[in-house]
Symmetry: C2
Subunit: 341 residues, 2 copies
DNA sequence: TTGAAAGCGCTAACAA
DNA sequence: TTGTTAGCGCTTTCAA
């Protein structure tokens, strides 16, 4: 049998409330009994049950985390940092991979409610904001990271996607590229990136033909396919802005296969600055998100809201940073992204 | 207020035990009341509390997962699959990154015990097997994946490391390489890989000088540093067997920096078959682990043990597979891994 | 087919 | 400073 507060009390010759007090460091107990109780707890290898304690209304010390897919290195990094910070703050995290699938979102949310999580961190786009509203109604605080969910009032931590995209686009323009395609994911964060791209292009008097805007899912494979699609068009392109590193990697693989030299014949720029951007050849120019900082902030905001539910919501916008590496180069006059034969 | 079983009972005009029965599909209740109760639950947006249910002795439906580091794509893949399978089986998972650090292992274990997890999956080397024994004493079943922990009797799912290493080494030998260095991590799984390497080499009459065996931690950086160290030795090497992909990537980066051509001047072989092996140039020859299959099996074994605690322990050994790509080539007579100047 | 009630391990108010 | 006790939301036995 697992030791309970009763076993400890009995063994130590005190009452359970005394034991409870030394566990929680509440009330006043003499140093002598305190020591005795601590000793007995260690000896019995007693670990107070969060389950029982939670039933009395105390927190479960659990944070739910919804990510699209932990195999995406960007989310792996994010999850890692969120976990570290959560542990530092005394919480542990239950992670769920939604694949941006509405069914899974629903299922996991219900699961998490049943588990009585103290708070929820959402790192994935959310199709059904109503489900989230239900959580809010159940007094479960929510913080959103690297994403945005319309119509609900929650704490939010994002990188300035608009600015990041501006940085990327502007850099490409400074390299004299004019025919630039963009591959985006259908997620809120990517909308800002697309908007910024369009505006900067327009400001520079460049019209982006609709076929140069491809919307797809975040994966190397999709990046590869999108690139193939772009390369097959009549209207050639000299640069591609992929809205995340996974897509960018796919683009580079497609280019390689078609013997399109990056960066000589095609400049590629990514977003996220994951490991992949430094292991690919040539190394990827990309926009870095301060994942660590973002993670610390979401956790802290969430924990703050658990303590002070009434507090106003915060919307943190962190600075992206353009990391110039080797996948981008100035436009060569003759360059076109066509196959070599 | 969150709805409770009482609110539902009252609203539906029945007793709480009736509600409980319809939730758990136990006992006999008329279709009519059943429908009524279900209706009320939906209307009240009621989600039964796992916390309360667990207090009565039922499972918490929580599995603890200890991984070294989720930023390592191998563990990210593994974690993803473990989670998917756990969800399928009705459990959710609490993940903890140990960094193979004894302090963290201890801290997280205590955390998980307090949370009353139903079972634990260990994917990390474990310095302190006694802590795990304590869990076993508390009747918390443990399954180990991609690792092995001496002196404790638990279910185990691993790839056949010995065979994987044999495959890799043998392949290198078939390419006529004789001067092969190996970079390993100080973890149980890697010991088998090192042993196999040594034996195969010996069988072929090749003596591996001690300086050609480097033990370090699993990271790109460490792989890079180890490679630098190897390249600086008097005794040149024509191939490097890195015991995981991260290390192999580091090796390739170091080689590139020193203008050592892979695979012409140096063959590199990895282990794990992560994304990185297909995004690096040249693509990495590596040994694939069937992560998905492994994940499904650990979860299933763990769940089985929860149900039938007395059952004998199983030790699953899955087949590795050599994936030949572009980082390995036959030995050129003149080749030595030296810098080009 | 339904309900009453004890108990799971703990917290917190209150009493001693 | 310590102990008694009611309750947290549920399950389960037993009775009706």
């Amino acid at each position: 049998m697992k030791p309970t507060i009763y076993s400890v009390a009995e063994e130590a010759g005190v009452s359970i409330s005394t034991v409870s007090k030394v566990i929680n460091q509440t009330g006043h107990i003499s140093e002598r009994t305190r020591q005795k109780v601590i000793e007995v707890m260690a000896q019995l290898n007693y670990h107070p049950s969060v389950v029982a304690s939670a039933l009395t209304g105390k927190p479960t010390k659990t944070i739910g985390l919804l990510v699209p897919d932990i195999s995406n290195p960007f989310f792996a990094d994010l999850a890692r940092s969120i976990e570290d910070r959560s542990h530092e703050r005394g919480f542990h995290v239950v992670m769920c991979n939604t694949d941006n699938d509405a069914e899974k979102e629903k299922k996991y949310l219900s699961l998490l409610i049943r588990q009585r999580i103290d708070g929820l961190i959402v790192a994935s786009a959310f199709r059904n904001a109503n489900l989230l509203k239900n959580m809010l109604k159940q007094d479960i605080p929510i913080s959103v990271i690297a994403s945005e969910i319309p119509h609900i009032s929650v704490n939010t931590v994002t990188v300035d996607d608009y600015k990041g995209s501006y940085l990327a686009t502007d850099y490409l323009l400074s390299l004299h590229h004019k025919k630039i395609a963009i591959i985006t994911e259908n997620a809120k964060s990517n909308h800002a990136r697309l908007d910024a791209f369009r505006e900067v292009m327009q400001e520079n008097g460049i019209i982006v033909p609709p076929q140069h805007v491809i919307t797809t899912e975040a994966s190397i494979q999709k990046g590869y396919e999108s690139a193939k699609q772009i390369f097959s068009m009549k209207e050639k392109v000299t640069a591609i802005f992929a809205c995340n590193d996974l897509l960018a990697i796919g683009v580079m693989q497609a280019a390689k296969e078609l013997k399109i030299d990056v960066p000589q014949d095609l400049s590629v720029i990514g977003f996220d600055n994951t490991v992949l951007s430094t292991t690919i050849t040539p190394m990827l120019t990309t926009v870095a998100q301060p994942t660590k900082e973002m993670a610390v902030n979401v956790v802290d905001l969430l924990v703050r809201e658990m303590k002070y539910p009434a507090m106003h919501k915060e919307h943190l916008l962190l600075e992206p940073k353009l990391i110039v590496r080797k996948s981008t180069a100035p436009l060569r006059r003759e360059a076109t992204a066509s196959t070599n034969n």
